[in-house]
């Protein structure tokens, strides 16, 4: 099983995403933003960081990079794609996921251990969890406030596309406590919190994040 991790200029948590992939039992494959080469991977992770320094808007420039155009096409044919933090911002900018991430309501960068509820346990990236399961993973961002037009929010809720929700406090003012959303087919998931930072007892607040990476292993096999 080969899972690609894209490095953009300014990606920071790419080494962490690769580590999580490895700990889940898959082979991480380094993907370079400027090349039209997905290297025949079975799934793709867009990691956290500040691609292109967040210039213009967070994720906006990366969303137009050569490789992300390939990712968008492949995703439409079912390639599982996970966007974490800045990766989530890129997926929204690329039009793969609805909504947008804006400056935290309190205007500070915030890093804390955050409780989340898995709302959808049947996506490619979350079916290792039980529906409604609560997990703790780090959140760290300055522009993590999920927003969408009221009608879009209704539609997302109606279609059950809110994948992960903040519980026990909303760290950034996200509407309806939305921490992550999924595509209609459940293959593309984006979230602001960092499951790749909760994969080892030694360095994380829990190992709750590993499920995102083990989920996709089964999703690919059963696809």
């Amino acid at each position: 099983m080969r899972i690609g991790v894209i490095t953009f200029p300014g990606s920071l948590d790419d080494v962490d995403a690769a580590r999580a992939v490895r700990l889940a039992g898959a082979d991480p494959v380094v993907l370079w933003h400027a090349e039209h080469d997905l290297k025949a991977v079975d799934a793709v992770v867009l990691p956290g960081g500040f691609s292109y320094g967040d210039y213009l808007r967070a994720g906006a420039i990366a969303a137009r990079s050569p490789l992300v155009q390939d990712v968008v096409q492949a995703a439409r044919s079912g390639l599982p794609v996970l966007g974490i933090c800045n990766g989530f911002q890129v997926l929204c900018e690329a039009g793969l996921l609805p909504g947008a991430l804006t400056r935290n309501s309190h205007l500070h960068f915030r890093n804390r251990d955050q409780r989340l509820r898995i709302e959808r346990a049947d996506t490619a990236w979350t079916h290792a969890y039980a529906p409604g399961q609560e997990i703790v993973v780090p959140v760290k961002n300055g522009e993590g406030r999920y927003v969408a037009a009221p009608a879009d929010l209704e539609r997302l809720e109606g279609e059950g596309r809110v994948a992960v929700r903040y519980v026990g406090g909303n760290p950034n003012g996200s509407l309806r406590d939305i921490a992550g959303v999924t595509s209609a087919d459940g293959r593309v998931v984006g979230l602001m919190p960092h499951p790749e930072h909760a994969v080892e007892e030694l360095t994380g607040p829990s190992t709750d994040g590993l499920g995102f990476f083990t989920s996709v292993l089964k999703a690919v096999v059963s696809a």
């Binding site: 200029p9 300014g10 948590d13 500040f50 967070a58 800045n86 205007l107 915030r110 522009e143 360095t203």
Partner: protein, 766 residues
């Protein structure tokens, strides 16, 4: 506009030059004329003025700092003082480089950018050594917490440290946040960076090999920070002075992140023979230091430097402190490959000159020679002063003002009130308001971070080897006795590293003092250096480098002497690290070390009485060493479940922090802590060489400690949701937590209502 060339200078010896405005003394200017045999050109004058400033030349501190160079190198030191940062062997072929640097004056003028570029500068120092930067720390001091100007400076500084470090992908693993009126016009922003490499990857800043190319890479050169070194860092602030905002540099962490990745790829492919970052004094510093350290000379065509502002004069280009720039010496055959790596990372790189066989540094501007100097005279042979020194006139009175005379809390409810006051004071309070703005997780190797006593970072995922770092500086102790104070600060940082189970290996420092032209300040400085050097010798630790920040004063009032000391330790296996917090009930709480009635410079005297006087606690380095070794052994053997250093606020502060970390209380008795059973002394004394540990095997700990010769006092048992201390108080953790956590948000705004504290600056924030 005509350019002042060497030729012109030789013909016009009597032209008036603005040496005084550039911060040079008349004898220094005369010496430059002696060296050159003529008047300097405008560009040369600019170079000498910035390089001979206090900040770059260490002209007042050099004679004292030699004490550090005279220490035994020890078996672990790979590169010592003199390079951008010292390098220490931490085993298995790994080398670690770490250094702390001040950005005090810029942070007062422009808090966000001053602090941000402070982080940027120290990260480049670490990168320059060949290492991958792996973590940062910050040691911050401001005026009184409730002072209006603190509310202006602190939020910007914190956002700047976070904004830059977060965007670089470097975890912030700890530091300090302290308040004192003496820093009101002169906050201290000291940033530490630590990097890791293999032994064979160490790089040095020298220009070798005639014909090798000089490559400038990174950001374009602009007008920011011109004269920052000589004007800002070496001059005190006073109310009449002009606004100096334009002299502060502006940072771009995205460019620095690209610079880091490009450099590491360049190092891996072995494409450079020497490298230097551009920090204070910019190109003047980088070119003269590279040439001075090498065997030959150097020539630079200054008009090749890519500019952000085409109107800059040659002198301004030489002095510019634009951030995110590096200078490399590259063999001609490797230049193309070097430039290709830079292109991959979108890093601008330009060949601006080459290494020559002469012994001169020459700079041309559109074909005309504007600099022709012996580089050593610029970089390494600047003026050196033996400044006059005098013991402060008020020191005898200060030391005689013994806190023993202060009224003490007697009744249990008084003791409890004082306990809460110390814990809830701005210095003692929970620092989450700050640390939530820092990424502590990125890179996935952070094993411990603030609020633990030291930051612990894994450096090898297979062998589990790791390092521990602490940064400490109690300025109250140093004010009362700079010799002992510096030693106590070293002891605290040493202890903080040791409580995690690490073996302390090496020391760095950032020495923040007032004006060296004041004999009393110079005496404080010399005493602190002497104290630190003597203590390092006793503990067998080398000083790997450091930074001196002088002129930290407003008008004629200097800050308290503030030697901030960093200690690096090594963990052979980070899985055995010991955290500071209590996790489980039913464990035995033990106090290691002896408690004496020592309140001089204590947090209690400061919080309860606003008092600073008497003598600081006794320094007992042998006890520190024995305790450190014991803590290391207890950690490795897995005999303790937590360990917390006792320092500011004594046992009162330590117990509160350990209990609140995971919400585990304890039932304790303090009657055996001192011979007379006085609970006040037990709670608030700040005697050194002490730590609180918890264990499930008290007999084993007791045996090991007694064998080592460390006094053990059983305090009680963890459990419950209160700190219940016989005869003192039963403090519910909810009440304690409310007091501890409320302070900083009340002063600086809860993040939810933080609209008024948006920092200046356009650095990205996601």
């Amino acid at each position: 506009m005509s350019v002042d060339t060497v030729e012109v200078a030789a013909k016009t010896p009597d032209d008036e030059q603005p040496w005084a405005e550039l911060g040079l003394r008349s004898d220094e200017y005369a010496r430059i004329r002696d060296i050159l045999g003529r008047r300097p050109t405008t560009a040369e004058l600019a170079m000498y003025s910035v390089m001979w400033s206090e900040h770059c030349s260490y002209k007042s501190s050099k004679v004292h700092l030699r004490r550090f160079g005279d220490l035994p190198r020890g078996e672990h030191l790979l590169v010592g003082i003199g390079e951008n940062a010292g390098v220490v062997d931490v085993g298995d072929g790994y080398a670690v480089t770490f250094k702390v640097e001040s950005h005090n004056h810029p942070s007062y003028v422009e808090p966000y950018q001053g602090a941000a570029t402070g982080v940027g500068g120290i990260v480049r120092d670490i990168l320059t050594m060949g290492a991958r930067p792996v973590a940062v720390m910050d040691s911050l001091r401001f005026g009184r917490a409730e002072a209006p100007d603190t509310a202006r400076v602190l939020p910007g500084v914190v956002a700047g440290v976070g904004g830059y470090g977060n965007c670089l992908g470097l975890p912030n693993i700890g530091g300090e946040l302290l308040f004192d009126a003496c820093y009101a016009g002169n906050p201290l922003v000291n940033a530490l960076c630590v990097g890791v490499m293999r032994h064979e990857d160490v790089r040095l800043a020298k220009a070798e090999g005639v014909g090798n190319k000089v490559v400038l890479f990174g950001a374009r050169t602009g007008g920011d920070g011109i004269g920052g070194v000589s004007v800002l860092a070496s001059e005190t602030f006073d109310e009449q002075g002009p606004a100096k905002r334009p002299s502060v540099q502006v940072g771009d962490p995205f460019t620095e992140k690209l610079l880091i990745e490009a450099c590491l790829e360049i190092f891996a492919a072995d494409l450079v023979t020497g490298i230097q970052d551009l920090g204070g004094a910019g190109l003047s510093c980088a070119t003269s230091e590279l040439a001075s350290a090498g065997a030959g000379g150097m020539h630079v065509d200054l008009d090749r430097v890519p500019l952000r502002d085409s109107t800059l004069t040659p002198a301004e280009i030489l002095m510019s402190e634009s951030q995110e720039r590096m200078c490399a010496i590259v063999e001609p055959g490797k230049v193309e490959q070097f430039l290709a790596v830079c292109r991959k990372w979108d890093v601008l790189a330009t060949v601006i000159g080459e290494v020559t066989d002469g012994d001169r540094l020459t700079v041309d501007w559109h074909g005309e020679r504007i600099v022709d100097v012996p580089p050593r005279t610029v970089a390494h042979e600047g003026p050196v002063y033996e400044r006059p020194m005098q013991r402060p006139a008020d020191l005898d009175d200060l030391q005689a003002d013994d806190p023993a005379a202060l009224p003490r809390p007697q009744r249990p409810e008084e003791l409890a009130a004082h306990w809460l006051a110390v814990v809830a004071s701005p210095d003692g309070a929970d620092k989450t308001w700050v640390t939530e703005q820092y990424d502590r997780y990125v890179r996935g190797n952070t094993v411990l971070a603030q609020p633990d006593d030291a930051g612990v970072v894994r450096i090898d995922e297979d062998t589990h080897r790791g390092i521990a770092l602490s940064l400490d500086g109690n300025a109250r102790f140093a004010r009362l006795d700079p010799y002992a104070g510096a030693q106590l600060n070293l002891a605290e940082a040493y202890r903080n590293v040791a409580v995690t189970g690490a073996r302390p290996l090496a020391v760095t420092n950032c020495l923040n003092f007032g004006s060296p032209e004041e004999p009393e300040v110079m005496w404080q400085f010399a005493e602190a250096v002497r104290g630190l050097a003597d203590a390092c010798r006793d503990l067998g630790l080398p000083v790997t480098g450091g930074n001196v920040s002088l002129y930290n004063q407003t008008g004629d009032v200097a800050i308290n002497p503030t030697p901030v000391i960093g200690v690096l330790g090594v963990h052979d296996d980070v899985r055995t690290r010991v955290p500071a917090g209590w996790r489980a009930g039913g464990e035995t709480v033990l106090l290691l070390g002896r408690t004496r009635p020592e309140f001089g410079g204590s947090a209690w005297a400061s919080v309860a009485h606003g008092h600073l006087g008497g003598r600081p606690p006794v320094v007992d380095l042998e006890a520190e060493r024995v305790l450190g070794e014991l803590l290391g052994a207890l950690g490795r053997e897995g005999l303790v479940t937590s360990a917390h250093d006792l320092a500011d606020g004594g046992l009162a502060q330590a117990l509160a922090e350990s209990a609140l970390r995971y919400g585990t209380g304890a039932r304790l008795g303090l009657g055996s802590v001192t011979a007379d059973g006085d609970p006040f002394t037990a709670l608030f004394s700040e005697s050194g060489a002490r730590a609180v540990v918890t264990t499930t095997d008290p007999e084993a700990v007791r045996t090991t400690a007694e064998w080592a010769g460390v006094t053990v006092t059983e305090l009680g048992t963890t459990g419950g949701d209160a700190l219940a201390v016989d005869g003192v108080a039963e403090l519910p953790l909810t009440e304690l937590r409310a007091a501890w956590t409320a302070t900083l948000p009340a002063l600086f705004g809860t993040p939810e209502a933080g609209v008024g504290t948006v920092p200046a600056g356009a650095v990205p924030t996601s």
